[in-house]
Structures are given as structure tokens and as C-alpha cells.
């Protein structure tokens, strides 16, 4: 057959596929992990922030397309999406989550579900539940071919953006004052307050950052996949959370590792097994990891704060 690939080429190609998918998971997982790390909230609305990012990217590009075509327009749209979503995430934090920081964790989680419902249904109403399509006019098949393996330019850009962001974030958390404050709050909020750290401000910043990353992923997804719909955030939300848990929730390198692992697992699983059971394996793995290694691959063990 003309189209057939050799065994190794298939595996390598699936590796590339898995890396791309994993980068999306990792970007969204980072936000989950940061927020969970700092206020122990499973931010259910995070997937919807991702979706909002994709929509803003699409709309801004639609407006800009006459003025700034091609990559410049795409870059501006994604930045706009990041800003919008960051503000949205911050607002959710300020008005829905902050009043409940002292309340039982269950209330906080349920509020997050409420925020998710609000964003989801607002976008659904605005778009009349119809999908929107992103068309940039760029040649989406152009790329490098090595043997039978294809890596398109869009994929290369995507991978490098994701890598840069992850490295940048690691440096930020690891060596800046704010990063240190974030880690300190994750350990003990009350002591941080006593030490003169503006806890609310740092929590707000965490939401800004996490939401911006989700929107970055959403914007990239919009450009890469080309279709945007109000319910696109749900599955990636759960998957990214799964990735964060696999890597060890609260851990930044863990979120990246978890995301990439999950992406690779899905790609290879599709090749070797059957795609109709793919999600069963992903969630099965989640449950298994939680049981065998509740703190994930890179997470530190800690005692639950009551």
C-alpha cells in the first residue's frame, strides 16, 4: 500500500501525536495544579476557561483578519484570549471563591461547578449551541517529512510554545519572590498572613496565571483543530485534571509530566488497542494511580488539612 508506514514509523508518529495532545493536557493541567496547590480547590470551571479562550481567539481573529493576517493575527488573538480569560478567572476567584475560602471544601467545589455552569451556558446561549470554525488560510499540511513521519510547522510551533511556557513557569515559581510566596501559601496560609504576605493578592495572581495558560491552550486548539464549540472544555478539563493527579497535584513539573504521559498513552493506546475504550483506560489509570500512589508520580505526601 502506498500509505502504509513501517512499524517504527507508526510508533514514532504516534509519539509525535501523543506529544502534541500531551502539550494541550499539560498546559491546562498546570492551571489545575497551581490552583489546587494553593487553595486546595478542584477548579471545575478551568475547562470552561479553556473554552472561553478558544472563543475569544476565534472572535478576535475574525475582527483582525482584515488588518493582521496570518501569524501576526493569530499571535495577537491568542494574547487577547489570554488576557480575557485571565480576567475572567480572576473575577471568578474574586467574587465566587474568595468569600468561601474559610468554608468547607465541599462548598468551594460546588461553587466551582456553579461557575462552570454559568460560563458554559452563557457561551451556549451566545453561540446558539452551534460550532464555529476557524479558517486562517494557512497551509495546514506544510511541514517536515522524515521518512513516513510528518511533523507540520503548526505542530512545531505548538510544541515550542508549550515548552517555552513550561520552562518560564518553572523559573517563575522557583526563583521569583511571588513564586516563593505561592509555594509558601500552599504550605500554610495562616503563617503566610502572619509573615506579611498578601495572601489574597497571590491567590488572585495564581488564578490569573492559570487561566491565561488555559486560554493559551484554548487559543492554540482553536488554531490547530479549527473548530470551537461551547462544550469543548469538559473532556479536556477532566483529562487535564487526570494528568495533574497522575503527575502529583500541586507539583508544576508533575503536571507537565502527567500531561505528556497521558497524551502518549492515549496515542499509543489508540494504535495498539481500540479507540472506543481509550477513555476507559485513561480514567482506569487515574483510579489506579490514586489508589496505589495517591500523591502521584512527583507529588509530595502531605496530610489533608481540615
Amino acid at each position: 500500500m502506498v500509505f502504509a508506514l513501517s512499524k517504527w514509523e507508526v510508533l514514532l508518529q504516534q509519539g509525535v501525536n501523543g506529544l502534541i495532545l500531551g502539550s494541550f493536557y499539560a498546559l491546562v493541567a498546570l492551571g489545575y495544579s497551581m490552583v489546587y496547590g494553593i487553595i486546595k480547590l478542584l477548579n471545575f470551571a478551568h475547562g470552561d476557561i479553556y473554552m472561553t479562550g478558544a472563543f475569544v481567539c476565534l472572535s478576535v481573529f475574525g475582527v483582525l483578519s482584515g488588518v493582521l493576517p496570518g501569524w501576526a493575527g493569530i499571535a495577537c488573538s491568542i494574547v487577547a484570549a489570554m488576557i480575557f480569560s485571565a480576567v475572567l478567572g480572576w473575577l471568578a476567584q474574586r467574587f465566587a471563591y474568595r468569600p468561601l475560602l474559610g468554608a468547607p471544601r465541599l462548598s468551594l467545589l460546588i461553587t466551582a461547578i456553579g461557575v462552570s455552569l454559568v460560563i458554559y451556558n452563557t457561551v451556549m446561549a451566545i453561540t446558539n449551541s452551534q460550532p464555529l470554525f476557524f479558517t486562517s488560510g494557512l497551509d495546514n499540511a506544510a511541514g517536515i517529512k522524515i521518512g513516513g513521519i510528518t511533523v507540520t510547522y503548526i505542530q512545531l510551533i505548538l510544541l515550542s510554545v508549550a515548552a517555552c511556557v513550561m520552562i518560564g513557569l518553572t523559573l517563575f515559581i522557583g526563583s521569583t519572590r511571588t513564586g516563593k510566596a505561592m509555594r509558601a501559601i500552599a504550605l500554610d496560609q495562616d503563617t503566610c498572613r502572619l509573615m506579611g504576605i498578601n495572601v489574597n493578592k497571590v491567590i488572585g495572581l495564581t488564578f490569573l496565571l492559570g487561566s491565561a495558560l488555559a486560554a493559551l491552550a484554548g487559543g492554540l486548539a482553536c488554531v490547530y483543530y479549527g473548530n470551537v464549540q461551547y462544550n469543548m472544555g469538559y473532556t479536556i478539563g477532566i483529562k487535564a485534571f487526570t494528568a495533574a493527579v497522575i503527575g502529583g497535584i500541586g507539583s508544576i513539573p508533575g503536571a507537565m509530566l502527567g500531561g505528556l504521559l497521558l497524551g502518549l498513552l492515549e496515542a499509543v493506546g489508540t494504535q495498539l488497542l481500540d479507540s472506543s475504550w481509550k477513555d476507559v483506560f485513561a480514567f482506569g489509570l487515574l483510579i489506579l494511580i490514586l489508589i496505589l500512589r495517591p500523591n502521584g508520580l512527583l507529588g509530595k505526601s502531605e496530610i489533608e488539612r481540615m
Binding site: 478542584l42 468561601l100 462548598s107 461553587t111 487526570t242 489533608e304
Partner: protein
């Protein structure tokens, strides 16, 4: 809000405690003689949600665990009944014990290893498990794959074949009474007090010698059984079940009913479920509102959580 509390207290006062409920139960029994099928169907749906909410209430309200996959529990009951009736020709009433058994087994499989974990890990495990159940039901031939099971036979009770919605209305009314009775007994039992203790302060409960993991598992099992039984009845009332009925939206709906109504408080939970089932029917034909009811629910949820974190009609704390 103060006024609301006062009204609720009045409803809970001695005089109202006996008079109001007796009259209303009587009214519920008499309603089918005055209402058309549609109204009965809406009421049936309200009772159906009330059953699910009462089941979930044991897990969420009494024990303070977060279950985001309650649809799976009810799917397991529905599919157990559906498969036994369709593939093995069982009588509906005989499938009920099997439903209960399967519900207990799955609850142990999921609960035993995970209930030791952090509480919000349970949320994500239940959510993941619900997806696993849904996808499995969708892929297997015995569950009818994606189209589900259709033409499930209507059962008979004392020689009467239950085909009309008014029949099911009474069946579910009886079920609500039974579920309320069970919930009420649970709450006031030693077991129920242990659960309340766990919910309020797990560490303290443990320190006082309550085997928290075991009690949590029991609560989880009871919740699963109630959900399973409801699922079985759902299967024969609807006569067809498909994976689409058991997605995350369904789980979220039930959870919302419990939370909005007031975690732990039985009338609150029922009111939440009834509100959830009836509200969209009333406003369905109103433009905009009908289509955006979930948006409204989301907002309501946030507001209720912030202003009344214990739910709309919470359980009164004893001093």
C-alpha cells in the same frame, strides 16, 4: 434571609409537623383524579429526582463526601434490571435484589480503596468511574451498545399491568415514602450520628474511636443501593435506557438538587429535587428563560453557596 429561616422554623413547629404533611400526602394521593397525564408526568419526574436526591443525600448530605458520578449508580441499577429482563427474561421484581447486590459490589470496589483518600479525590474518582460505566455500557453488546436497551417489558403488580403514568405516579409515591422513612431512620440512628460527626470533623471523629473509613463506606453503599433501586424502577417506567441518560449532566443535576435544597435536611432535599424538576417545566415555554435555565441554576448555586453555605433549607444544628 432571616424571614426565610423563620418560615422554615414555622413549618417545623409542632402544629405544622402533623397537620400540614398529612393534608399534603392526602392531596398527593388524590391528585391523579384531577390532573392530566402531563401534570402527572411532571410530578412523577419530580419524585424520580427526589428519590435520586435522597440517595445521594446519604453520601453528600449525611457524610459530607462529594460524589460527582451518581448517575453511574443509577445506571448500574437500570442496566442490571434491563439486562436481566431483556436477555434472561427475569421478572422485574426479582431483578430488584440483584440490582441491590450489584450496587453494593460496585460501591465496595470503588469505595473501599478510595474513601481513604482526600475528600476531593473521591469527587474525581467517582466522576472517572461514571465515565467508565457510561463508555462500557456504550461499547458492550449486552447493554445494547450506544442505542441502549429498548422495549423493556412493563411489570405487573397484584395482577395489574403498570402501563399508565398514573400507575407509576403511585409506585413512585410509595417509593418516596419508603426512601424518606429510611433516610429519617438513618439520620437518627447511631450510624447517622457517626456520619454527622465525620462530616463535621473527621479528625475528631477518628480520635473518638469512630472507624471513619468503614462508616464512610457504609454510607457510600447505602447511597449506591438507593440509586440502584431508583435506576431499576426508572428502566421499567421509561421502557428504554441508553448511555445518554447517564452522563455527567445527570450527575450534576442530582447533586445540584441536594445542594440547593440543603444538604442533609430531608424536606430540603425533596424540595430541591422538586424545584429542579418542576421549574424548567413552568418556564419551558417562556422564551430565553426556558433555554437558559442551567445558567440560572449556576448563578443560583453560587449565590446560595455564598449566602447560605449550608443550602437553602439546611439541617438545624443542635447546640
Amino acid at each position: 434571609m432571616k424571614l426565610l429561616d423563620k418560615a422554615f422554623r414555622l413549618l417545623g413547629s409542632k402544629g405544622a409537623r402533623y397537620g400540614v404533611p398529612a393534608a399534603l400526602l392526602l392531596a398527593m394521593t388524590a391528585l391523579p383524579f384531577f390532573l392530566d397525564d402531563y401534570a402527572l408526568h411532571v410530578l412523577w419526574n419530580a419524585m424520580f429526582y427526589a428519590l435520586l436526591a435522597l440517595g445521594l443525600n446519604v453520601i453528600v448530605g449525611y457524610c459530607g463526601l462529594c460524589d460527582l458520578g451518581y448517575a453511574a449508580k443509577f445506571a448500574i441499577g437500570a442496566y442490571t434490571t434491563g439486562i436481566l429482563m431483556k436477555s434472561f427474561g427475569w421478572n422485574f421484581w426479582l431483578t430488584l435484589p440483584m440490582s441491590i447486590l450489584v450496587a453494593v459490589i460496585t460501591a465496595v470496589i470503588i469505595g473501599a480503596p478510595t474513601l481513604k483518600l482526600r475528600s476531593d479525590y473521591l469527587a474525581i474518582v467517582t466522576l472517572g468511574f461514571a465515565e467508565i460505566v457510561r463508555i462500557t455500557a456504550r461499547n458492550l453488546p449486552i447493554t445494547g451498545s450506544a442505542s441502549g436497551l429498548n422495549a423493556i417489558a412493563r411489570p405487573s403488580l397484584f395482577g395489574l399491568r403498570l402501563t399508565k403514568i398514573s400507575h407509576w405516579y403511585y409506585v413512585f409515591l410509595v417509593l418516596v415514602v419508603i426512601f424518606v422513612f429510611i433516610s429519617n431512620r438513618l439520620r437518627h440512628s447511631r450510624f447517622g450520628r457517626a456520619l454527622a460527626y465525620i462530616r463535621e470533623d473527621e479528625d475528631a471523629a477518628q480520635a473518638m474511636g469512630v472507624d471513619t473509613t468503614r462508616y464512610k463506606l457504609y454510607a457510600y453503599m447505602i447511597g449506591a443501593v438507593l440509586g440502584g433501586v431508583t435506576g431499576s424502577f426508572f428502566a421499567v417506567t421509561m421502557t428504554s435506557i441508553s448511555p445518554g441518560s447517564f452522563d455527567f449532566t445527570q450527575s450534576a443535576n442530582i447533586l445540584l438538587a441536594v445542594i440547593l435544597g440543603g444538604m442533609g435536611k430531608i424536606p430540603g432535599v425533596i424540595a430541591g429535587a422538586a424545584f429542579f424538576a418542576i421549574f424548567p417545566e413552568i418556564f419551558r415555554d417562556v422564551p430565553i428563560v426556558g433555554n437558559m435555565r442551567m445558567l440560572f441554576f449556576g448563578l443560583l448555586l453560587i449565590v446560595v453557596m455564598i449566602t447560605r453555605p449550608q443550602g437553602f433549607w439546611p439541617e438545624r444544628k443542635r447546640g
